[in-house]
């Protein structure tokens, strides 16, 4: 028989954005190590439904670490104690028998709670809409190999582009700053010749939108980088600052 554990989960329950929330405790028995964290919550919800109670609401979709939908603050860490993974990739073998696990939503002014563990991350879409793109229409594009791009730049752009927009960086930051998210997009496009043309305007408009939406400032504590499930580096923030300053000086 595979080893199983018995656990207690302390889950944040909150009816709606304005409602008062509180922790509730539930006991779960015989959880195997191969169970993913979200499957553990499925088991809890199955239990609650069977008791005719309201299940715990949490965002999830792809369950393979790429859609960025899952967003749980587990034992004080966005996406839990393991590194370089999303909540859906966290497995119960990480936890011990008898452990109490605390589960909270992302807590940040920029991400209001919708219900229980589900938060509203529309602000991230708005920041991208403010300039996180290259202004090209469909069609009439020169051949893809017309502009050679050094492998080093392309690889670095890819590293920045690996951001999944989950918001762990904001949740981890004591200031609730979205700098890692914004800088990853600004960097990706600034590193490529296609995105270079609008680099200044992009840096300014995305930063302005971020400020407008109530995200905090960056004070270089590096919590975002440490908690990022995709290992997006804070060197992106340095590049954003450089792009932003260049843009401001040339005004």
């Amino acid at each position: 028989m595979e080893k199983t554990i018995n656990i207690t989960v302390k889950v944040w329950r909150q009816k709606g954005p304005k409602a008062q929330g509180n922790f509730e405790e539930y006991k779960l028995n015989n959880i195997t190590g191969d169970t993913s964290f979200l499957e553990m919550l499925d088991i809890l919800n199955e239990q609650l439904v069977r008791e005719h109670k309201e299940p715990v609401a949490f965002d999830n979709d792809c369950r393979e670490g790429i859609c960025g939908m899952c967003s749980l603050y587990v034992n004080g860490h966005p996406h839990g104690p393991d590194s370089l993974i999303t909540t859906c990739q966290l497995h119960m073998r990480t936890f011990n028998d008898g452990e109490t696990i605390t589960i909270e939503p992302w807590r940040s002014a920029g991400f209001p709670v919708i219900r229980d563990l589900m938060v509203d991350r529309n602000a991230f879409d708005k920041i991208i809409q403010a300039g996180g793109y290259v202004s090209v229409n469909t069609g009439g594009i020169p051949d893809a190999n017309a502009i050679p791009i050094s492998k080093i730049d392309a690889d670095e752009a890819m590293d920045s582009a690996s951001c999944i927009g989950c918001g762990a960086c904001v949740a981890a930051c004591k200031n609730g700053s979205a700098m890692l998210f914004v800088s990853a997009k600004v960097s990706q496009l600034a590193l490529l010749p296609q995105g270079r043309i609008e680099a200044k305007a992009r840096a300014k408009s995305m930063v302005a939108k971020m400020d407008e939406l109530g995200f905090g400032n960056c004070t270089n504590t590096r919590a975002c980088e440490l908690e990022c499930p995709k290992g997006v580096s804070i060197s992106n923030i340095a590049r954003l600052n450089r792009e932003f300053l260049k843009a401001k000086f040339s005004d």
Binding site: E39, D42, E46, D59, D61, Q89, S135, P142, P148
Partner: protein
């Protein structure tokens, strides 16, 4: 009887699309502003279509069930996207990509559509590079390619193991730009509940809007438009365990089906050979390991049954089995393509070995995917650069390190080639209702080749629909915007309300998931990798019974007029019963084996799929004839003018 007209343009294959584009009707810029288009879905097809239509000047309303368009499940595609660029100078061409796709689809796709797909494939790569998609590059600065199953050229463009993510983020950024400009209005956390048809002055029923449920407030809302585009993906979650996202569903397709659109080739579902095996009852999904791994990974099981037994009992480690005791069965059976045979062939070969008792994990339902010879040949660093993120993902899920011990893999349901029937213009049999991407049936026949889903999604959204929809809308420029107070909207909304009220009132004893899992077991056991007349008949009986039980025994907690995840799942599952039924019915009708549809009765002595071109060279299109009534079968004959059908051969 309905007669199907695929509206294929005249002329030689290579000139059809050009001919179409030069003769289709257009809408002038001033009129575009007066026309509304609803696009449901924000995956590769939906987002690229919404962005392109917005750029052209149409007023677009774009819906998705997730909290952001960027979450659509296209994001999870790993391996790459095909295009006929021939950058590698290895003999590729538009014709060859067309031919490989037709052959890979086991000669059950429409020639003209597939040729157009191959033709526009090159523009997709150009478009994505211009958007800032960071494709992999060579040291010289030019784009890199890799090879994929079913092809003997390297035509697959990729961005690490996250190609779908990067392409979707490209389309998402183009979409975001249009949202900023005001040409696209985005509705996130909204789910389509039904299609609204309105009769025009000539009595023709046209798609004029949708009823959608705001998933946060639970309220039903009405939206009107001059045309509705469905880009909501496939229906693989009928199997419960699949590589699809948890919320992927076939409901929008079924809503169109019940309103008169045809559901084509539902039985054609793809079982992907390289997924992490099932390990327990609580499991919620199966994770795909990219097909690109088969470039360097070698698939094997032990030659000796006693070694397999020892592996299953945990008494032997895979690394302890000597080279000469390993059976690299794909290389043995298919010397020409080896580990790179198409997905359906690789999946069935794995089933054949595990059925014979040679499976390698504790359930006996797994085979090895081994990188030791690649690591020896290329070094660990090169392997890490190519597949590092996939190896990391595998290790996080299984706690095994693929650099040291072979991966264990097993087939799982992945993609559905079937879908809403569309003509050459991607329009369904309902005027004004279009279907794009995986949601339609058009390009992959009975089996899809790797790296072709991304190609088709973006082809439809960027380069096909924006042309063809104009041919329809050019007739609609005189039609003023619709009021959502029309009786048709009122009536459709009431029907949705009633259905929801009925579900909520059941108050039975079982959860939605318990029913979904039961359906999944029926699908996998009786409509899975190998089907028989008996198994499919059993499936039909069992699905009917389970559906009836669901409508008596399901319990949905909470209220309908607020956020209610269980209700969302129940509504989707209600449709999955009917989809599962259609899949089994279609499989039963098709007395042949082709592509992803394998009937055990129809195989060659060597165990390969045996097609019956004389009787089944058609797309089977099912027409709704009432709730719980047998649908009508309509055949679209697939006349091949340019390609000669052959038995697929990947041996030599």
């Amino acid at each position: 009887m309905t007669k199907l007209n695929a509206s294929i343009p005249q002329g030689p294959l290579a000139e059809k699309w050009t001919y179409y584009k030069s003769h289709q009707k257009l809408v002038n810029p001033a009129n575009k502003r007066r026309l509304d288009v609803i696009v449901v879905g924000t995956g590769l097809a939906g987002a690229s279509a919404a962005a392109s239509l917005g750029e052209m000047g149409f007023n677009v309303l774009n819906f998705c069930i997730q909290d952001s368009p960027r979450r659509a499940h296209s994001i999870a595609a790993q391996g790459g996207i095909n295009a006929a660029k021939n950058y590698q100078n290895d003999g590729d061409s538009v014709y060859r990509l067309f031919y490989d796709t037709i052959k890979g689809g086991d000669y059950r796709a429409r020639e003209a559509n597939v040729y157009r797909l191959a033709e526009v494939s090159n523009s997709i790569i150009d478009q994505c590079v211009a958007q800032g998609v960071p494709f992999a590059r060579e040291y010289g600065g030019l784009l890199d390619n890799r090879s994929f199953g079913g092809a003997q050229v390297s035509r697959t463009f990729y961005a690490k193991g996250q190609t779908g993510q990067q392409l979707l983020l490209g389309a998402y950024s183009a979409l975001s730009r249009q949202v900023h400009k005001g040409s696209v209005k985005l509705y996130t956390r909204y789910e389509m509940m039904d299609l609204v048809l309105v009769k025009d002055e000539k009595g023709v029923e046209r798609a004029r809007g949708i009823i959608a449920r705001n998933l946060v407030t639970g309220k039903l809302e009405r939206f009107s438009a001059h045309a509705v585009v469905i880009g909501t993906g496939g229906y693989g979650n009928a199997f419960f365990l699949s590589t699809n996202a948890m919320n992927s569903n076939g409901s929008a397709a079924m809503q169109c089906y019940r309103k008169g659109a045809l559901f084509a080739n539902p039985a054609f579902a793809q079982i992907h050979p390289t997924c992490i095996p099932v390990h327990g009852d609580f499991q919620s999904k199966l994770t795909l390991m990219s097909e690109s791994l088969r470039n360097d990974g070698r698939i094997w099981v032990p030659k000796k049954i006693e070694d397999a037994k020892a592996l299953q009992e945990g008494k032997l480690k895979p690394t302890q089995i000597k080279e000469e005791d390993r059976d690299y069965y794909l290389e043995r059976r298919y010397p020409a393509f080896g580990n790179l045979v198409p997905r359906d062939v690789a999946s069935r070969a794995a089933k054949e070995r595990t059925d014979a008792g040679f499976g390698v994990n504790n359930t006996g339902l797994a085979v090895f995917l081994d990188f030791s010879s690649a690591i020896e040949r290329l070094g660990k660093d090169v392997v890490a650069a190519r597949y590092g993120n996939l190896f990391q993902m595998y290790e996080k899920i299984t706690a095994d390190n693929p650099y040291e011990t072979p991966m264990m893999i097993y087939p799982a349901i992945h993609y559905t080639m079937g879908g809403i029937w569309v003509d050459y213009e991607l329009m369904t049999t309902i005027p004004g209702c279009f279907a794009i991407g995986e949601a339609n049936f058009s390009d992959h026949g009975a089996n899809r080749l790797g790296a072709s889903a991304l190609m088709q999604g973006l082809a439809d959204g960027y380069f096909v629909l924006p042309y063809t929809i104009q041919n329809y809308l050019s007739d609609q420029i005189q039609v003023p915007r619709f009021s959502v107070d029309l009786p048709e909207f009122e009536k459709t909304e009431r029907e949705v309300e009633d259905k929801i009220a009925q579900l909520m009132s059941i108050k039975g004893s079982r959860s939605v998931d318990s029913f979904h899992k039961a359906l999944g077991h029926i699908m996998w056991d009786y409509v899975g990798m190998a089907r028989t007349k008996e198994s499919l008949e059993t499936a039909l009986t069992k699905i009917k019974a389970l559906k009836a039980e669901f409508w008596k025994e399901v319990f949905i907690p909470g209220q309908s007029n607020t956020l209610n995840v269980e209700l969302e799942k129940a509504l989707r599952l209600a449709d999955f019963f009917d989809i599962g039924y259609l899949m089994a019915l279609d499989g039963l009708n098709r007395n042949e084996s082709c592509g992803g549809h394998f009937r055990e009765e129809y195989q060659t002595p060597e165990g390969e799929a045996l097609r019956d071109d004389e009787h089944y060279a058609y797309a089977s299109c099912w027409k709704f004839s009432g709730e719980d009534k047998e649908p009508e079968l309509i055949k679209e004959s697939l006349e091949y003018e340019f390609v000669v059908r052959q038995q697929r051969n990947y041996k030599a």
